[in-house]
C-alpha cells in the first residue's frame, strides 16, 4: 500500500475546519503526527513545506494530519473571529480527529511560530505525547507582536510597494497586521502568551529549531530542561526569515528544516 492524502472538512457545523490527512504506507501504523501550522502570512509562506513534510512522514509510516485554524486557509470563518484560545480549541479538535482516523496511540506534534506556541499549549492538555518539534516557536506573544508590527509598518512605508503613500493607521476595514485581521481581542490573547510562565508539558522529548540565535529560545529550552523535559535546542540558520521585510512575499522553500524535523520525528520510532 502506498501513502495517500485526503483533503476533508471536520469539526462542528459552527466551526468547520479544513484539513489534509496523509495516510501511512502501512495502514496498521501506531504512530501519528499532528502539524500545527503557523497563522497569517507565516501560514501562506510555509504551506509548501508542511505539505512536503506530511508526505515525507506518511511515506515513512506515520499517520499525519495538518489543518487550517478557523478563519484561516480553507477553513470556514473570517480571520477576525477567533482568539488564541479558540485556535487552541481547533488544535484539540484536530488531534481528536487524527486519533479517530488513525487509531494510533503514539502521538507527536510539530508546530511553527504561533503554531509552535499552540502545539506547546496543546501538549499541556494531551496525556501521552511522544515528541514535540517546535520550529521558531513564539515564546512571548508581546515580542512577536512587536516584530510583526515593525514589519507591517515597514511594508506600509515601502514606496516600491505602495506608490501612493498609505498610513499605518489607515485601518478602514478594521485593525490588521501584515494583511490579516488583528482585533484588540486577538492582540490581547497573543500578548498574554508566555510559554516560560506556563506549566511544562509531560512530553517525552522536545526539539526546538531556531533559525536565529535568540535568547528567548535558549531561555525556554533551559526552562524545559529545568522542569525535567528532555530538550534539544538546535540552531538551523537560514530556515526562517519571518521578520525580514524583503522576504514577506516569498514562499519558503523546503530544505534543511524539512529533513531536520522529519529525521528527528523518525528517530522516535
Amino acid at each position: 500500500m502506498t501513502s495517500f492524502a485526503v483533503p476533508l472538512h471536520f469539526g462542528s457545523s459552527e466551526r468547520r475546519l479544513f484539513g489534509v490527512y496523509h495516510s501511512p504506507d502501512q495502514i496498521s501504523s501506531d504512530r501519528a503526527v499532528l502539524i500545527c501550522q503557523p497563522l497569517g502570512l507565516d501560514y501562506i509562506r510555509s504551506h509548501r513545506i508542511f505539505r512536503r513534510l506530511a508526505a515525507m512522514l506518511a511515506k515513512a509510516g506515520h499517520h499525519v494530519f495538518r489543518f487550517d485554524y478557523f478563519g484561516c486557509g480553507d477553513s470556514d470563518g473570517n480571520g477576525d473571529e477567533s482568539t488564541l484560545l479558540d485556535w487552541l480549541g481547533d488544535a484539540q479538535v484536530a488531534a481528536e480527529e487524527l486519533r479517530d482516523m488513525s487509531g494510533a496511540t503514539r502521538f507527536s506534534v510539530i508546530g511553527t511560530r504561533l503554531g509552535g506556541a499552540l502545539a506547546t499549549l496543546l501538549a499541556g492538555r494531551e496525556a501521552s505525547l511522544c515528541r514535540l518539534a517546535l520550529w521558531d516557536p513564539v515564546v512571548r506573544g508581546v515580542d512577536y507582536l512587536d516584530r510583526m508590527t515593525a514589519v507591517h509598518n515597514g511594508m506600509i512605508a515601502d514606496r516600491t510597494r505602495f506608490v501612493v503613500p498609505r498610513s499605518p493607521r489607515d485601518e478602514g476595514h478594521g485593525p490588521q497586521l501584515l494583511g490579516f485581521p488583528m482585533t484588540s481581542r486577538q492582540r490581547e490573547s497573543i500578548a498574554a502568551l508566555d510559554l516560560n510562565a506556563g506549566s511544562f508539558a509531560s512530553v517525552g522529548q522536545v526539539l526546538i529549531l531556531a533559525s536565529e540565535d535568540r535568547p528567548d529560545f535558549s531561555e525556554y529550552a533551559a526552562a524545559l530542561r529545568t522542569a525535567g523535559v528532555n530538550t534539544t535546542l538546535r540552531h538551523v540558520p537560514g530556515t526562517g526569515d519571518w521578520d525580514e521585510l524583503p522576504c514577506v512575499e516569498q514562499v519558503l522553500v523546503p530544505g534543511t528544516i524539512l529533513t531536520t524535523i522529519a529525521e528527528w520525528i523518525l528517530e522516535g520510532r
Binding site: 492524502a5 483533503p7 476533508l8 472538512h9 479544513f18 489534509v20 502570512l41 501562506i44 504551506h47 509548501r48 505539505r51 508526505a55 484561516c72 486557509g73 480553507d74 470556514d76 480571520g79 511594508m155 516600491t160 510597494r161 505602495f162 506608490v163 501612493v164 498609505r166 489607515d170 485601518e171 478602514g172 476595514h173 478594521g174 490588521q176 501584515l178 494583511g179 490579516f180 485581521p181 512575499e249 514562499v251
Partner: protein
C-alpha cells in the same frame, strides 16, 4: 457553504467549491479562480477565499484549486512548465465542473500570471464567457513614460539622490525585479486581435490594475491606449493607484472583491441582480472617486 473536490487524472487535483445557499440561478456561469505564482489556492492574503465566498453569497458558484505540483495537488507534471500546467489544469477544472456540477459557462479570474493563464484558456475555450484580470498584460506607452518621468524631474529629492549616487555618496539601489520579466506577454497586435475575437463571441472582460504594478502600468486607460479601443460595453478597464500588487491591505481586498462581484452580477445575473446589487452600489460609488 464550501465543498472539497478532488478531480483530474488520478484524482490528484485538489480544489474547493464555494456554493450559494440555494440552487444556482439558471444561466449563471461558474467562476474559476486561477492560481498565480507559488501561493496555494487560498491566494495572497486569502484573496481567493474571500472572493470565492463573496461570489457564492451573491449566487455564483466559485472554484479555487491547486495546479498539479503546487499546493495540495501532488503528482507528476510530465515536464510541463508552470504556465502549461496551470492552463492544462484550468481545462481539467472546467471539465470537472461540467461533469459533476452541470456548469456550462465560465468566468475566469486571475491575478498576475494567473491572469495570463486565464487569458490563454479563454482564447481556446468558447465556454469561457467572461474574464477578470488583476495586473494582467500591460504595455508601456508614451503617456506611461510621461507619468513615470515627470514626477521624477520635478522632485527635488530625486535630484539630490541622483547627485549623491553620481558622486559616490550613495550606492545605486538595485531595481526591483520587473513583474513582467518572468512572464511572456503577447505582442500588442496579437493581444488586440485575440481580445477582439473574445469580445466578438460575446465575452465580457474586466481589466483591473494596481499602483504596485507601476513598472508596467501607471495611469488609467493605459491598456486601451496601448492596444486600441475595444467594444466599451464589453470591456472595463480600471486603475487603483493606491493599491499594491498583491492587495496586502484588507480594505483594498474588500474593495476589489466587491468590485468584481458587482461586475459579475451586472454582466451575468440579468435583471434579477438589481436588488442584490443595490447593497454595494453606495460603496462602489464612493470607491470610484478614489480611482
Amino acid at each position: 457553504m464550501e465543498k472539497v473536490c478532488v478531480f483530474g487524472p488520478d484524482r490528484s487535483l485538489v480544489g474547493v467549491l464555494s456554493l450559494p445557499e440555494g440552487p444556482v440561478p439558471a444561466g449563471r456561469p461558474a467562476v474559476i479562480l486561477v492560481n498565480g505564482g507559488l501561493v496555494h489556492r487560498v491566494g495572497p492574503f486569502r484573496l481567493y477565499v474571500d472572493l470565492g465566498r463573496h461570489l457564492a453569497e451573491t449566487g455564483f458558484l466559485a472554484f479555487r484549486f491547486d495546479p498539479l505540483g503546487y499546493g495540495d495537488s501532488e503528482g507528476n507534471t510530465n515536464g510541463r512548465s508552470f504556465d502549461e500546467q496551470v492552463q492544462h489544469d484550468v481545462a481539467m477544472a472546467i471539465e470537472h465542473l461540467v461533469a459533476c456540477h452541470g456548469c456550462s459557462e465560465f468566468v475566469l479570474f486571475g491575478l498576475c500570471s494567473g491572469a495570463d493563464n486565464a487569458y490563454h484558456v479563454a482564447v481556446r475555450d468558447r465556454r469561457v464567457v467572461g474574464m477578470v484580470w488583476i495586473d494582467g498584460f500591460a504595455y508601456r506607452t508614451p503617456r506611461y513614460y510621461l507619468h513615470w518621468y515627470l514626477p521624477r524631474i520635478v522632485s527635488a529629492q530625486k535630484w539630490i539622490s541622483a547627485v549623491r549616487r553620481l558622486v559616490g555618496l550613495d550606492v545605486a539601489k538595485r531595481p526591483r525585479e520587473q513583474l513582467g520579466d518572468l512572464r511572456k506577454f503577447p505582442t500588442r497586435d496579437a493581444l488586440r486581435a485575440q481580445l477582439k475575437t473574445l469580445v466578438d463571441r460575446g465575452c465580457r472582460l474586466q481589466f483591473l490594475y494596481t499602483g504596485g504594478y507601476n513598472k508596467l502600468y501607471n495611469h488609467r486607460g493605459q491598456l486601451r491606449e496601448a492596444i486600441g479601443e475595444l467594444d466599451g460595453r464589453a470591456v472595463t478597464e480600471e486603475f487603483y493607484p493606491s493599491f499594491d500588487h498583491i492587495l496586502t491591505l484588507m480594505q483594498d481586498r474588500a474593495a476589489i472583491v466587491a468590485r468584481i462581484a458587482t461586475w459579475t452580477r451586472k454582466n451575468f445575473a440579468g435583471g434579477a441582480a438589481v436588488l442584490i446589487a443595490s447593497a454595494t452600489e453606495a460603496f462602489d460609488s464612493s470607491l470610484a472617486g478614489a480611482i
